[in-house]
Amino acid sequence: MKNRILLGLAAFAMVALLSSCGKVPQAKIDAVNAAIDSAKTLQADVYVPAALAAVQDSMKAINTEIEAKKSKLFKNFKEAEAKLDQALLAAQQVQTDAVAKKEEVKKSVETLMTDIKAVIEENGKLMKRAPRGKEGAAVLEQMKNEMTTVETSVADAQGMYDKGAYMDAFNKVTAAKETADKINGELKEAMKKAGIKI
């Protein structure tokens, strides 16, 4: 009778050993993956691409570690679980950073928009008073054409802003602002040379 009990115990021990000690922390894996997906939805790939790539790399490393553990006879996922906890925090941080960076870019676009509208208005006033002799008027005609394009760019950037494409709007309005600033500088220089008070 005792022998049978012993054999039963041995068999049970074998089964327990072979079926491993730990279980794959699937819930934590899913949580990290979901957090990474959320970060992507929040355009982390646009606003904090390096941070997102780092979290994705961490997740790949954890997956590799988990598979390596699963291949072993004795499985222990405690270390991987700790890493998953860290990855989850990192992914959540990426979400926060993406939102913050997006907001920062949005604010920058708003500031640039305000600034460029002021420069456009100032350029319009300066053009009326700028010297027209010699090549002046022809240059002014060119400047007017360029200012029309600047205004079109600002309108395009506003459209991008309204759609939430803040990075595209930022790039567009930055180029427009540089052009408007250049024209502003040239106008002031020409007026200064002609002795016209600005």
Binding site: K2, N3, L6, L7, L9, A10, A13, M14, L17, L18, A53, Q56, D57, K60, A61, N63, T64, E67, A68, K70, S71, L73, R132, G133, K134, E135, G136, A137, A138, V139, L140, E141, Q142, N145, E146, T148, T149, V150, T152, S153, N171, K172, T174, A175, A176, E178, T179
Partner: protein, 370 residues
């Protein structure tokens, strides 16, 4: 006592058997290629850092696909009983992924650097084109549509520069392609048009040479108007005495064909009347004998050939007058100087003084270089 001993022996034997089984399983079970997978993962990460997803897309996607296949196969093998696992495919995919990632990382750096250099050259070249357009065609009567295309091209070039400075080479490349299309097309078309116009240069040169020779021979005054450089020169005895800025008809390129075309005529003319005070609204004016016999003959031929409508009139009343200094070409076909300048000319020239109007005194290549 015997029973106890038997119990101990059985227990020890069982434990030994279990330990042996575990040891054997551990020893003979196939080992996963952990090092290979980790190496592949590191290479893939490096490729990502090198922006292979952007600059070596095909290789990077292949590397990623191989890595995904590696992990899928590994998971699948892990689901089997420990002795029945086979990690060969996992290893193959890991090695393939590592190789592709490494190639992607390298080619990405190379492609990115090449693109960066290519873009720098393109940006510089387009900026040169932009400057040439401003310099050569600043006062050329280009249509508003063409002017708008130039402005759009310039803006796209600026956007490309902003993207380039931010290391966004692919968007910069797209913007440059658009800017190049607009600016280069406009430049090439305008240059071709200008080249056609300058086919008349030998004639203009001949007119200028004969006029200066005539001025020298008769020790007389001569006015030469160089339309392209917007200059009006006053000669005496074949020598240049004065140089003035001139403003022309709004549509100054080409010879005057008919009334209302806002073109300044080209040819050798004479002053026929001098106006001042109430006789002119432009301070002082020197009317020339446009249309002369040559102009009349050309006008007749062009009507005959249907180049201009039969109802056209040849026009007239072309003058060199004051009221200039506006900085643009604004007249209906006359040559405008400032009031101060027309005062000087008016005081020196007389009825009969030769006025030679040419497209340019410099040849096409000289115009482009200067």
């Amino acid at each position: 006592m015997k029973k106890k001993l038997r119990w101990v022996i059985v227990t020890l034997c069982s434990a030994a058997i279990i330990a042996s089984i575990i040891f054997l399983l551990h020893k003979i079970a196939p080992k996963p290629p952990v090092d290979d997978v980790e190496f592949a993962m590191q290479n893939l990460s490096k490729a990502g850092t090198n922006k292979a997803g952007t600059y070596s897309k095909k290789l990077y996607n292949e590397a990623k696909a191989a890595f995904d296949s590696c992990m899928i196969n590994w998971t699948r093998e892990n689901e089997k009983f420990i002795l029945f696992r086979n990690f060969e495919k996992v290893e193959d995919y890991a090695k393939l992924s590592a190789l592709k990632s490494s190639q992607a990382a390298e080619s990405s750096v190379s492609n990115s650097n090449n693109l960066k250099s290519k873009l720098r050259v393109k940006i510089d070249s387009l900026n040169h084109t932009r400057q040439s357009i401003d310099k050569i065609f600043g006062r050329y009567p280009l249509s508003p549509e063409i002017r708008s295309r130039i402005s759009n091209g310039k803006m796209l070039l600026k956007e490309a520069e902003v993207a380039f400075d931010n290391g966004q080479y692919l968007p910069a490349n797209r913007k440059i392609a658009d800017a190049e299309y607009l600016l280069t097309n406009v430049y090439d078309n305008a240059i071709d048009e200008l080249k056609d116009y300058f086919n008349l240069f030998p004639t203009w040169k001949r007119w200028v040479q004969s006029s200066i020779s005539d001025s020298r021979k008769n020790n007389s005054y001569l006015l030469i108007v160089d339309k392209f450089s917007r200059k009006c020169y006053l000669y005496l005895g074949g020598n240049k005495k004065y140089e003035f800025e001139a403003e022309l008809g709004r549509n100054w390129v080409g010879d005057k064909k008919r009334s209302g075309d806002k073109a300044t005529p080209e040819g050798i003319y004479r002053i026929v009347t001098k106006y001042q005070g109430r006789e002119t609204q432009y301070h002082k004016a020197l009317r020339i004998d446009y249309p002369n016999a040559e102009d009349k003959e050309r006008f007749r031929m062009e009507i005959k050939k249907g180049i201009i409508p039969a109802s056209s009139k040849i026009g007239g009343g072309i003058e060199i007058h004051g009221g200039g200094g506006k900085g643009v070409d604004w007249t209906e076909g006359c040559v405008a100087l400032t009031d101060r300048e027309i005062d000087i000319v008016f005081s020196l020239v007389k009825v009969g003084t030769m006025v030679t109007i040419v497209g340019s005194m410099k040849d096409f290549n000289e115009v482009l270089v200067n």
